[in-house]
């Protein structure tokens, strides 16, 4: 731990109002600068979530390894062996795992972040900080699991002798797209959940539905070409396709679908910010 400290009490040399408290009217100020100022808190909230999760679990970090591996085994047996779904020329286990990597991240992120405001209601009613920090921290925490799964994937690629292509360099971009999509969806879900508690119960169903609407167990090429762009409205399609292309060197990447994902995720994020900011001022009153 560093012992460097930055600021004691900042001296007030001028007489400018530091904080002005009044009814909020505008709805287009996202105040993202405040989120940046509170990045320390964001860090501690993510840290808390990760720490608490492993402290409470009896087998701790083993979960992070077991969960995706077991899912992959089940998928391989059911969809690869029994249903004989095509896997674009890669071994089915690795085909499934490359999709599970971003998908597990995404599903964990919205599962946790979607209820994050309500589960942190004690903070919201007792302390001020930019409320955006809460869903964002919920969506960032599962990146730790993502990193662990990534290491497993590297091991599997070595085992199956799959060599990554230069496309690997694009992985951070597709990861970012997954994070943006998760944050965007969580902004709606978490804010709605403050007012309507049944949203929390609908989230597991939403995740299940969403998984089958994404090419996790099957290949994008199973979707008829004329529907593919419509199908690509789901940003996770672009993310998963991107991961497969980057890691497995998929011969026929669908860049149109990926571009569609970027557009939809950005629009979702913008809309989510507007919605969140508009409802935010009532959180402390109704939570």
């Amino acid at each position: 731990m560093s012992l460097v400290h930055t600021a004691a009490i900042p001296s007030l040399t001028d007489n400018q109002p530091v904080v002005l408290i009044r009814p909020r009217t505008g709805w287009l100020s996202f105040d993202l600068e405040a989120v940046y100022r509170y990045r320390g808190l964001l860090y501690f909230l993510v840290w808390r979530d990760v720490l608490v999760r492993y402290k409470q679990a009896a087998i701790g970090i083993t979960w992070v390894v077991l969960q995706p591996l077991l899912t992959m085994v089940v998928f391989t047996v059911i969809f690869g062996l029994f249903a004989k779904l095509p896997s674009d020329g890669s071994p089915y286990p690795i085909f499934a795992f490359t999709a599970l990597l971003p998908w597990n991240y995404f599903s964990q992120a919205i599962a946790r972040s979607g209820i994050s405001l309500v589960s942190n209601s004690n903070l919201i009613s007792k302390v001020y900080f930019p409320r955006l920090i809460i869903p964002i921290s919920g969506a960032l925490g599962p990146l730790v699991d993502f990193a662990v799964s990534f290491v497993i994937l590297l091991g599997m690629m070595a085992w199956y002798r799959v060599a990554p292509t230069w496309g690997v360099l694009a992985l951070p971009f597709f990861t970012l797209l997954a994070v943006v999509t998760a944050v965007a969806v969580s902004l709606y879900l978490s804010a709605l959940n403050v007012k309507y508690r049944d949203v929390g119960q609908a989230i597991p169903f939403l995740i299940q539905f969403w998984m089958y609407a994404s090419p996790v167990v099957y290949s994008l090429h199973l979707v008829p070409a004329k529907w593919r762009l419509l199908y690509g409205l789901n940003p996770m399609v672009g993310v998963i396709e991107g991961f497969r292309w980057a890691l497995l060197g998929n011969a026929r990447p669908d860049f149109a679908v990926m571009a569609m994902g970027v557009v939809v995720a950005s629009v979702l994020l913008l809309g989510g910010l507007v919605y969140f900011k508009r409802t935010e001022r009532f959180f402390a009153d109704i939570i």
């Binding site: 408290i21 009044r22 808190l41 608490v52 402290k55 007792k126 302390v127 309507y196």
Partner: protein, 424 residues
Amino acid sequence: MNSIAICAEHLSKVYDIGARQERYNTLRDRLSSGLRSLTRWKNRPAASNKFWALRDVSFDVPRGEIVGFVGRNGAGKSTLLKLLSRITDPTDGLARIYGRVGSLLEVGTGFHSELTGRENIYLSGAILGMSKGEIDRKLEQIIDFAEIEKFVDTPVKRYSSGMYVRLAFAVAAHLETEILLVDEVLAVGDAAFQKKCLGQMGEVANKEGRTVLFVSHNMAMIHNLCQRVIWLKDGRIARDGAPSDVISSYLAELSQMSSTPLAHRTDRQGRGDVRAVAVELRDATDNALGHPVSGQQVIFRLHYRTEPGKVIRNCRVCITVHKAEALYFLLSTDLVDKTQIDLEGEGTIDLVVPELPLTAGNYDLTTFIQSGPDVQDWVDRAAEMSVIDGDFYGTGRNYPPDWRGATVLVHHSWRHQKYSGQLL
């Protein structure tokens, strides 16, 4: 002008009580009521019920001043602190705050029971607005202050409640903001530690010119700590001035107020699905009891009423007996019997004290109803009781009347032994 820390102008806050009760409604209810209002649009819900938690409150606080806020439950004290700490927005009016604000509206905000003391110091510190560097620098001081050296790396779920509170307050006490908003948090913790915290707060305020806004029901504490007191009543400022003046007029009003019938009192807190509507005293033969006598059996009867059609499950019903700030005893259904109570419609709960252990004097009764974790109804000084001296010990002797103050009478016995020179 240069020395102003807080400037509040016409601050108001309205709560829509109708909307507040709707908060746990489900989406399905919402949809079906939407449909109903479409099909039977004549049957509109009644105009929403507005509640002014705060109305047109203006005041200035010079830098370095310690201001106490007093007032009954529901008078707007906590709402005011929430507005100033930006937790919720005012409906009208504005406030200017010159400096960094730290708010302590709760002890242990953000504490997580699975984390260790050290981890919680970082977490709670960050939530209260400290930077990591600031916490690193103060870690030792905080641990010392809380007196938990040996347990720093133990999860706080294994702490005693005293240790927990000490640690939580130690973090908060080291918050270095120019302005500190404190809501009743000192009410917890043992007396010695309270003193230490007050010392720390006072010291910081004096040395560093820190401005403190302090809400408490503890008049002695307010009197000792504050240079100025603001009395809030029904969301407005009733008086603003020197501590002794404001406190005495507040206390004078308090003794008058308790003559308002309980059912009509608005200075209550809680969700209100069930409310205490009356409190009365009865004797062993169920006759109304005007003046209970020490040693007599007394039934504290609380009449309740629930919202129509609602069943309030897992309730506990309590009455505390106190005087000024001294609490004499607590009667609570869950202390003596683990069955929890479901309340519906109207009825009474009797809390029976076989031998009233109080000396002559006037006492206040506070009622409290809780369902599960939710406070349903809490009325401070819901009723008064004036006790007459009686033969508590059955010896014809009383607590010496010239001894000062009222007290709790305790049955006891004594024995006398003489050293016989043969100690075993």
